[in-house]
Symmetry: D2
Subunit: 147 residues, 4 copies
């Protein structure tokens, strides 16, 4: 990137929360940005009945939503520009049973046009975090509009 | 598989719908099994405001939900036993703008313990289907309980 | 893409073979471009002892090489510019036992800067093709140099 | 796993090297197991001209070979049984230019029948390691034979 990006942690978090608040789907399931800095994001989803599947576990689609969104934030803050998720891959490790999902993502490499990020998704129960999915994906910078 | 699986198309569809009806998250976003046969599934999600992100496109997490669930059904009907999604990968191709998402999945190989499946996710607008994501993943048979 | 790409099938194939001939690793394992057109590629690798693993099957690394390279050709001919593989995912379906690997890839979506492609890898024995792996990945256009 | 696995580091390494020595393809490109313990593996490939592509970088197929094989070893030692790679995904980050590839893999979750592993692939030049690819995949236990 040609321009330096100097954003305070408070501003990053405020921006991240403001974006999430404008995503009706994220609001629908109660997702929340817990922390955000350049190349790192923690996002959580409270486990209500509405996000479960037929066995009472969190639906895989919600686990993948959490991974996808956390990857996007990690890549977006690493690149410092508006982004979209190009692709990601997720491995489910265990049924997610607990009070909330916690997705922790970080950028492992940020180039000029894209960042590659990894994410661990935990389910938290009684304060104990259990890893329930791991993901890896590519976040792409949206083309800049001419000035 | 050692036992033959002979299920009528109507029974497959009824079973698929019955499972979906017991997934609160699938009910929340209005997902529906359109068709189901051995190794094939069509699943749709109506595009309401609730499933969108900040730019008015369907949220990537909902696109990945549709892919994940359609892959699971394709693998489950190919294997003929209860299953879970082990892993999948998705590439987003275009913003999803339209009236409904339509995820078409099929099994490309079913072994004894797992099936590998592919999925195309379309967004349908005015009767026109536009491919907006492609996915590939592994569906694993749940361990059979002793009789 | 702004400029039209009009390349004859013979020219595509000649270009593809010329590139492969300049890849020492592809020469080492005897890879060959069988056919090439805009967004489509067939690439084969003869099965010699040198490409096997300890059980006599083709080594997974060679199967993934074939998928990777076929994806790159399919994406490169779809985009019409020099490219690199950004990422791919592969599922191995069966041990590859036969006379040659045949990787068939096609572009499912080509944008301005990248193409998303799929690949089926077959092993051919006595004229019979058996699917042994499926892959999906992203091929990125290299940045154009000014001038 | 029902049986305890107690293997000394020296035995792990000797076993790993013995398997690699029986893989003609691994011998062809000079791959070597650097270290091996339960759920962890370091594997290296010297960069000779033979493993390069047309621009002088290590061929992507060789990078993916290194990732695939390191993932397999990490999963195999985590599970303690004979295994195969079911699937993996790789993101290429930078051209690999240097003296040797070094793939470091570790198991992030090992169940009864499969392990999910991650891998970082570095290229080493003048003693400096540069991350050039990241991978994630599933290693499956081969079915145990009765008796």
């Amino acid at each position: 990137m040609t321009e330096p990006v100097t954003v305070s942690p408070e501003d990053f978090l405020a921006m991240g929360r403001e974006v999430l608040a404008r995503q009706p789907f994220s609001v629908l399931i109660g997702a929340e940005v817990v922390s955000l800095s350049a190349g790192r994001c923690e996002l959580q989803v409270p486990v209500s009945d509405a996000v479960k599947q037929q066995n009472g576990f969190v639906h895989g689609g919600v686990v993948s939503y959490a991974a996808d969104n956390a990857l996007t934030y990690a890549g977006g803050t690493a690149l410092g520009v508006p982004v979209v998720t190009s692709e990601f891959k997720i491995n489910y490790l265990r049924p997610a049973i607990g009070e909330r999902l916690l997705a922790r993502a970080e950028s492992v490499h940020a180039g000029r046009t894209q960042a590659v990020c990894r994410c661990d998704v935990f389910v938290v129960k009684g304060g104990v975090e259990t890893l329930c999915a791991v993901a890896q994906g590519t976040i792409a910078a949206l083309a800049r509009q001419p000035g």
